[in-house]
Amino acid sequence: IINNHYEEIDAPSAEEDSDKEDQDLDKMFGAWLGELDKLTQSLDDGRPEQSPQQKAPLRQETNMANFSYRFSIYNINEALNQGENVDLDALMADLCSIEQELSTINTKPNSAGGMARLGLTDTKVHTHTHACTQISVYNFCCCCHCVCVQEEQAAKLKAENIRVALEKIKEAQVKKLVIRVHLSDESSKTMMVDERQTVRQVLDSLLEKSHCGYSPDWSLVETINELQMERIFEDHENLVENLLNWTRDSQNRLMFTERIEKYALFKNPQNYLLGRKETCEMAERNKEALLEECFGGSSVSVPEMEGVLWLKEDGKKSWKKRYFLLRASGIYYVPKGKAKASRDLVCFLQLDHVNVYHGQDYKSKYKAPTDYCMVLKHPQIQKKSQYIKYLCCDDVRTLQQWINSIRIAKYGKQLYINFQEAMRRTEAAYDWSSLSSSSIKSGSSSSSLPESQSNHSSQSDSGVSEMTSAGHTRSQSVVSSIFSDAWRRGTQGEV
């Protein structure tokens, strides 16, 4: 029976539901709780040796699975403690869309399904992902406790959807993470991301949900409160991978906000690529030519950045001046008493393993000469350490030039591709919004709608054709299947 329910709740229908059932929300959660408790139990029964409660008995220095576990727990708990509304409806919509995606994947090759089943047997990797799935279930349970009310018939469908979705997730071995995204107005959103999603994809889904107007400047920013630093995630980066670096007790935040500095480099390349000291204007066509010249070829040359910067001395509060140079192979400095010939340069650090962060308010925190500081550290380092390097610039312009040049040295052409992609999304969004002012429906649901209408028109057809059309609509959206279900029930009643 379950196999015939290839359903999805997409954005419009979810909104409709929430409008109708706003007051019944609490009751609905109760229903979920019941269903989900059953689910966890059934999962535990099947594989008692892998129950999430028994997870992680080992002392591990770094265990990804553990972090993801802690992380999602942390987020939900934090939300509950603060008495905020967790947007469970949106979460469920996420789950459902994932489910639909998975059902299309699974129906394609038989062999893939076989693999997925095989994968469930054992081994480290799979236990991890398995644990994660259950963790999500567990999260639902604990938040449902807080809003727990009695069961309700109407909510059963949703709970069932979630159950199916979760099972599908489990089957596909995809790691999911419930994350909390902070907005600039101090509010926050809870959403689910899967481990394969890039920052761009997460941004897209956030933009789609929040109706905040497209702009390439929308960014996901990681703020590390303990170290007073932040970094804009690059669009091509994997979000989950980055978030798993956070510790269990982390005060870090993920911000969803507009940042002009994200792509300022491409909007005014003349201020970053030409090594000039002063800001200037440039005609649009020249900008394009400049970008094409720098990023269009087979190799990307790093902007010639060099100059005196302040370096914080290890373990001390003093800062000393050094002449630094940026090369494709890393950051170098000129040793005392030497000219800046390439062969005499001393390697300060190589960029493969470090990211560049923007240090905040370091004048008071570390007695920095100015507040224009950048920090270079391995993404996994979350606490004060001698392995974190602090550099201070004389002005904000120099700081931005250094940060952007380091980004170019690190990511090269990818950065330009990201920008072009972001611009394409923005342009596409404008095209869409001119067609309809409402939110953009997902491509799959809108394309399958006409088919569901043809179902309606085939009312008078025989049962045989009805069967085939039911088989045909397997991968269709919830809208169509809800309609066809209702229609079937309706005709049955008539007969």
Partner: protein, 645 residues
């Protein structure tokens, strides 16, 4: 019209034969003269490549329809009848000298096109010819004559119709000797002996580097006009550092020669780099020479790629590879492990304890250790995930020291952990596992075995270095690391000091294929700040001292000779026009925003500078046109100056 006597020397008759005298009238066209001449010599042969050269005026009479009057030829003219294609000794970027027939009558630009077509090098517009440095004649060097590989027998007709046979131009597939020459062109040379590097001329300053650019031939005039004689030696080099559309499949020779030119530029410090970069270049050279020795099938494999069937096959394999995440999963499931006793040491911990022995288990990307083998079923003392960590070797073969230094990122900072192995075998296995784990790959990864192999081969290199010294013969395993770096580092480090440093850099490149490694080498070379700069000493208008002009693919820079700093940069993008005053040998360039500069050239003819700038502008137009045919006319328009037009 009155007839008069015209005397023509026929080169093929030998230098001692007196000129042939013809009775001509001024309205006789050049074709008629040749006809008369050939009839008079009474030699039957193919004269089709022959033409008349006017010695006093230093010009070819190639327009056979023009009359003697139109050319302005009178009885006093000394004409020579000779072939347009003559043998030339050609030094290639990889140091090999060829002897081939080049065109002496067309502009050098076309001569280079012809040479490149013969050698199977695409985009000949990026290369040119230059006069070699005078070789210092030392008595002891006299007996060691350079071997010259002869290509003069290649029929010119086959060159004009290039068709590939067995992956190489048909004329190379004729005989085993020819095939061997093609291999020489398309396979990288083994690293040179350190003494060879040390003996070569190295520019010591920017001014030294500037002098080499005075040797480029003029692309718009022919070899004869530039005083090049039959059998003279010239160098073929990449001149414009804007390499368009490199495609390893078609560019075997081009890539090899480009790599060789880049390698020598680095070994001879023609371009500056940092010590870290030098070590990486060294590691790549080592890797390239090793892989090209073990991959002699380069030619046939690229030939097979032309075969549609095999191309499809490789596509299939590729697609299978991409969609094999499921099978990868399966592989991971049965992931192999490493289990052994190793010693561990944590230098940063404030304990005085030294290395302690534990039972280690390597699984997936993590190391866990136990008190003993017997206790390994239980909970480990610690588990360390190596994903994202830094791995460095610390090996001394002589002292039998096999250390793996791990720098493991953690929220609190980096943890330093040393693992000590007992022997070479154990070290290679565990080191390879650590290297893969740091990249998030498990032992099951297909590259594990090759990783072990490359660690072994590098250890072998250290063995020979620390052992018998001074034997520079490069057998397949042992290479003197001094062969991989510039002489500066010969003085700074002993070979055995250099080896671990290159080994360190080598870790990151060991898994590259030959093509990937060559491409990587070129990429790093192109990312050097001074890449693509050709220097000329100039005197700016109104200035009293010599300065250096650096010509790059996208800009001009002005360098102060006293300080060595870049004073000013001008980009071609905002260049409006440039002019050459041939009489006072001065170049004047106008940029947007009323910026005007003018300078005279000291170390090179101003035609050379003019050609460099025009050439780079020509190179930048290629991406826009997207057509395969070379717009020769545009090149001459941009580089020729008024002479050509």
């Amino acid at each position: 019209m009155a007839a008069w006597d015209l005397s023509v020397t026929v080169e093929d008759l030998g230098p001692d034969t007196p000129p042939v005298t013809l009775s001509v009238t001024s309205d006789l066209h050049v074709g008629g003269v040749i006809l008369k001449l050939v009839e008079k010599t009474q030699i039957k042969r193919d004269w089709s490549d022959h033409a008349l050269w006017w010695e006093q005026k230093q010009r070819w009479l190639l327009r056979t329809a023009w009359t003697l009057e139109k050319y302005g030829i009178h009885a006093d003219a000394r004409l020579v009848f000779m072939p347009q294609h003559k043998p030339l000794k050609l030094g290639l970027p990889n140091g090999i000298t060829l002897r081939l027939r080049a065109c002496f009558s067309n502009p050098v630009f076309q001569t280079v096109i012809g040479i490149c077509r013969m050698l199977n090098i695409r985009h000949p517009e990026e290369l040119s010819l230059l006069r070699p440095l005078e070789e210092k004649k030392k008595k002891k060097d006299k007996d060691s004559t350079v071997e010259i590989y002869d290509l003069t027998e290649v029929p010119l007709s086959s060159v004009s119709r290039p068709c590939l046979y067995n992956g190489m131009p048909a004329h190379f597939a004729d005989s085993p000797q020819m095939e061997a020459i093609y291999k020489m062109l398309s396979v990288t040379q083994p690293p040179p002996a350190p003494e060879v590097i040390a003996k070569q001329y190295r520019p010591a300053s920017v001014v030294d580097k500037a002098h080499i650019n005075g040797r480029w031939l003029d692309s718009s005039r022919c070899l004869m006009q530039q005083g090049i004689q039959e059998n003279d030696k010239l160098w073929l080099r990449f001149k414009y550092f804007a390499f368009y559309d490199i495609e390893p499949k078609y560019d075997v020779v081009r890539l090899t020669q480009l790599y060789e030119q880049a390698r020598w530029a680095i070994l001879l410090e023609d371009i500056d780099c940092t010590e870290e970069e030098m070590m990486l270049f060294g590691a790549l050279q080592y890797h390239i020479s090793k892989v090209s020795q073990s991959e002699p099938q380069l030619l046939s494999s690229s030939a097979a790629m032309d075969d549609l069937e095999s191309a499809l096959q490789s596509l299939e394999v590729k697609m299978e590879g991409e969609s094999s995440s499921a099978s990868e999963m399966l592989e991971n499931m049965t992931a192999p492990e490493l289990n052994d006793y190793l010693k561990i040491f944590r230098p940063k911990r404030l304990t005085l304890k030294g290395y302690k022995q534990y039972w280690f288990k390597f699984q997936d990307t993590s190391i866990s250790y136990f008190k003993s083998k017997e206790e390994s079923i239980g909970e480990p003392i610690q588990q360390i995930n190596l994903k994202g960590c830094e791995v460095a070797p610390d090996v001394n073969m002589a002292a039998q020291k096999f250390l793996i230094r791990l720098l493991i990122p953690a929220p609190e900072g980096m943890n330093e952990v040393y693992l000590r192995c007992e022997n070479e075998q154990q070290y290679a296995q565990w080191m390879a596992a650590c290297r893969l784990a740091s990249k998030g790959k498990s032992l099951a990864d297909s590259s594990y075995q090759s990783e072990i192999q490359s660690i072994h081969s590098f250890l072998a290199m250290q063995k020979t270095n620390s052992g018998s010294h001074g034997n520079a013969a490069a057998s397949d395993e042992s290479i003197n690391t001094h062969s991989l770096v510039s002489p500066r580092y010969h003085k700074k480090y002993k070979a055995k000091q250099l080896t671990p440093r290159i080994l360190d850099a080598y870790q990151n490149v060991a898994q590259f294929s030959l093509t990937e490694a060559v491409m990587r080498f070129l990429q790093i070379w192109q990312a050097l700040p001074d890449f693509g700069l050709s220097y000329v000493v100039v005197r700016f208008k109104g200035s009293r001292k010599d300065e250096v002009l650096g010509i790059a693919p996208n800009r001009l820079i002005r360098i102060d000779l006293g300080v060595g700093d870049v004073v000013k940069t001008w980009r071609y993008n905002n260049m409006k026009q440039w002019n050459v005053n041939w009489d006072i040998k001065q170049m004047a360039i106008e940029f947007e925003g009323n910026v005007n500069i003018a300078f005279s050239c000291v170390t090179a003819d101003c035609k050379i500078v003019h050609e460099f700038i025009g050439g780079y502008i020509f190179m930048s137009t290629r991406s826009r046109e997207k057509s395969d045919t070379l717009n020769e006319e545009l090149f001459h328009k941009l580089t020729g100056g008024h002479e050509a037009l």
